[in-house]
């Protein structure tokens, strides 16, 4: 008789915080106490609160323990599991109210969420297909195969109003309909799991935490458009997602959810995993198809769209992971149910990956139309150190920033576009007063310049030129004409690039120029970085009055840039200093200043 279940988060974030060692220690301690018959330890996908990792949830009570180290395990077993006393010191404290919360359901972070795409992620063992089935897994596939025609499946998806969660927000049902209409005998279903948008990690979490939902949805899509072969294209940067997905594929095949005559019907469907090799442009759908075919991931002009001419020139539908993760619930609960969630033109929920300067980083799923303020302050717990909110980047390197003035904007596809940003895949990077917006623009452009495949010159040469100008500005060598030049180049690149990567590459520069022009001007005219972040414009100095000459800084300096004699004030050699800031962290007397 099992009296308690312990969920151990094993998403990539918690694994990097050593959650697997915690799990091993739990198993050892339970064995010592002879509790293995009563208590089950389950490794789940990402629970969502990555910065609090490793995270444990103890059921039936639902007690939420955070930042659990190996050394804390003995106390959890002896106090909580044997004596029934909650270990207070490992509970979560709300950052703003400082209230200590015992149960997972009490946390604002979870309370405000509406989970459809993430409904299994963090709740089940992704390696156990039976847990997926117990949560109505593969029921939607069964319903589709036994009760619905391909036409009624497509009409249900169309009526739900589901739009692609990977970038542009194209209506999913419409895409499926285009491919279904084709009379071609060979068609393909593709899942874009090449989530390259920096700051977005919902697709990784779903693949790691709920891989069967993708298999099920792709089989449904195959039935709807008349395809018997699918491909999942996952980026190589996600080894854990690849491992879990491969194992899920095997189990789905064993149980007859894939292969010949799925669930005893006349429908057959096979699925293959293809792994990328580190190229951001492969997230662009035509480049992704090229890569699946075994070529360089170079995009091609559209039209023809993949739904007409895709993989090996056959009609192909491509949806991203989060889009597919919505399909089973829509089939089971109906288009009308889904349609009631969200805003007029953006239906359902959206998963946001919150990162940067925010107290609760991690994944949250909320109804479309939730405001930025709710996300940052209510769910995200505000900015660390009570610093001032400056901006939030959405849409990654293709998007733009939202400012304080946009805090009460309802986040959906169309409002974000009207503000000069975009939904993208839902990465939300929060920046505070210490983030330099010119540096951020430079940073995103450096990224797109590197990732430009080089096929068309506006993107290849244009982004390089823009980057050179931005580098000049952050190095304090900007000239007054630079702002004009940036704006002109941006408009050329947007108008003339071949694919979405180039067409959207200038967005971060345009968006920061529109909202933070004064910061550009401060770098150019005053040779000053108002946020105190640009390395060329800051210097580290030792305050001779507070330095006691202990030499700790010199010992830790990785570039031997600190010199001095013990018991006398030390000094920093500016030309050798790599500006890493280790000395500031190490100095016990706060004698090192950064300005």
């Amino acid at each position: 008789m099992i009296r308690s279940h312990i969920l151990v988060c094993a998403g990539a974030g918690c694994v990097s915080s050593k959650s697997r060692l915690v799990k091993e220690e739990l198993l050892t301690r339970l064995k010592l106490q002879d509790l293995t018959e009563e208590i089950r330890v389950i490794e789940t996908g990402c629970i969502g609160t990555c910065d609090l990792g490793p995270v444990l949830v103890l059921y039936p009570e639902g007690v939420f323990y955070q930042k659990v180290g190996v050394e804390d395990v003995a106390e959890i077993v002896e106090e909580h599991l044997v004596r029934g006393r909650v270990v207070q010191r490992l509970l979560y404290k709300e950052p703003l109210s400082e209230e200590i919360l015992e149960k997972m359901a009490d946390l604002e972070f979870f309370r405000r969420q509406y989970r459809i795409a993430l409904h299994n992620t963090g709740a089940i063992d992704p390696d156990n297909i039976e847990e997926y089935i117990a949560r109505d897994g593969y029921f939607a596939l069964g319903k589709v195969l036994s009760e619905m025609t391909p036409e009624t499946v497509i009409s249900e998806i169309k009526q739900s109003g589901l739009r692609g969660r990977g970038g542009g927000g194209f209506p999913t049902g419409l895409k499926w309909e285009f491919a279904a209409r084709s009379t071609s005998s060979t068609k393909f279903v593709v899942c874009n799991a090449d989530e390259g948008d920096p700051g977005a990690f919902m697709d990784r979490s779903i693949l790691e935490g709920d891989p069967h939902t993708i298999i099920e949805s792709m089989a449904i899509a195959g039935y709807a458009i008349g395809a018997d072969q699918g491909y999942v294209y996952c980026r190589a940067e996600y080894p854990l997602a690849i491992e879990r997905f491969v194992s899920a594929l095997e189990k789905a095949r064993e149980m007859g959810f894939l292969g010949e005559n799925v669930l005893g019907s006349t429908f057959s469907f096979e699925l293959e995993l293809r792994v990328g090799a580190g190229a951001f442009v492969c997230g662009e759908e035509t480049a992704l198809l090229s890569s699946i075919e075994g070529n360089r991931g170079e995009p091609r002009p559209r039209p023809p769209f993949p739904a007409v001419k895709g993989l090996w020139d056959s009609p192909t539908i491509i949806n991203n992971v989060e889009t597919y993760a919505n399909i089973p619930s829509i089939i089971l609960k109906g288009a009308e149910w889904f349609n009631k969630i969200g805003t007029e033109k953006s239906k359902g929920t959206k998963v946001f990956a919150m990162a940067g300067k925010i107290n609760n980083t991690g994944l949250v799923e909320v109804p479309m139309g939730t405001t930025l303020r709710e996300l940052v302050y209510e769910i995200g717990g505000g900015i660390p150190g009570n610093k001032k909110f400056k901006a939030a980047q959405t849409g990654g390197p293709s998007g733009g920033c939202l400012t304080e003035a946009n805090l009460d904007t309802a986040m959906d596809y169309d409002t974000l576009l009207s503000l000069g940003s975009m939904m993208g895949s839902g990465g939300l990077i929060v920046m505070d007063e210490n983030t330099c917006m010119v540096d951020i623009a430079r940073f995103f452009l450096d990224f797109t310049k590197d990732e430009s495949c080089g096929k068309c010159s506006p993107c290849r040469i244009g982004t390089t030129r823009m980057l050179q100008i931005l580098e000049r500005i952050v190095n304090g060598e900007g000239i007054p004409e630079d702002i004009d030049a940036l704006e002109k180049l941006a408009s050329f690149i947007k108008d003339t690039s071949l694919c979405g990567l180039g067409q959207s590459a200038p967005n971060p520069v345009l968006s920061t120029l529109r909202n933070f022009r004064d910061e550009y001007e401060a770098h150019i005219y005053d040779k000053r970085c108002p946020a105190g972040s640009c390395q060329a414009l800051i210097h580290f100095t030792i305050n001779a009055a507070t330095c006691i000459g202990c030499g700790i800084c010199a010992k830790h300096c990785p570039s031997s840039a600190i010199v001095g004699e013990r018991k006398k004030p030390f000094s920093i050699l500016d030309d050798q200093c790599v500006k890493c800031g280790v000395c500031v962290q190490e100095c016990p007397f706060q004698a090192i200043e950064r300005r």
Partner: protein, 149 residues
């Protein structure tokens, strides 16, 4: 070497569309793709050498230059950047005495930049071979690098 190529290509049913997988398998033991490997793959798949070389040089995870035992892939994405990645990277460069895309003289470490590792909740982050390390500080990377034999 030649027999490994033959074996890997056969495992992938001589399908040119599986070129990325084939190169990934061949790279696991040595961390790079030698010229003769590329030529042999082209021969086994019956495709031009330029096709294989083109793919091997397009994707950042393949290398045609020898790499160290440990490949450090340092995340250069925005969330890591905001959380102080530049300072951590400077510390790694200082400790190892190499620049990005270089290998230490003893052949132990290669330092590369990667696009987002998707562990932004624990930024700044890096991946060494296939292990992810998060919440990095200049001090923590010193400790991590010291523990690798």
């Amino acid at each position: 070497m030649l027999s490994t190529v033959k074996q890997v290509v056969t495992e992938h049913e001589h399908q040119p569309s599986r070129l990325l997988e084939i190169l990934r398998c061949l790279q696991t033991s040595t961390n790079y793709l030698a010229e003769e490997t590329i030529i042999q793959v082209a021969k086994e798949l019956d495709v031009p050498i330029s096709q294989v070389y083109g793919v091997a040089t397009f994707y950042s995870m393949y290398s045609t230059k020898p790499r160290g035992k440990y490949v450090i892939r340092f995340c250069e994405s925005a969330p890591c950047h905001i959380e102080g990645a530049a300072e951590v990277l400077a510390a790694i460069q200082g400790i190892l005495g190499v620049d990005v895309d270089e290998t230490t003289d003893n052949g132990k470490f290669s330092l590369e930049l990667t696009s987002c590792l998707g562990v932004c909740g624990v930024a700044p982050a890096m991946m060494i071979n296939s292990t992810v390390y998060g919440n990095l500080t200049p001090k923590k990377v010193q400790e991590v690098l010291m523990t690798l034999e």
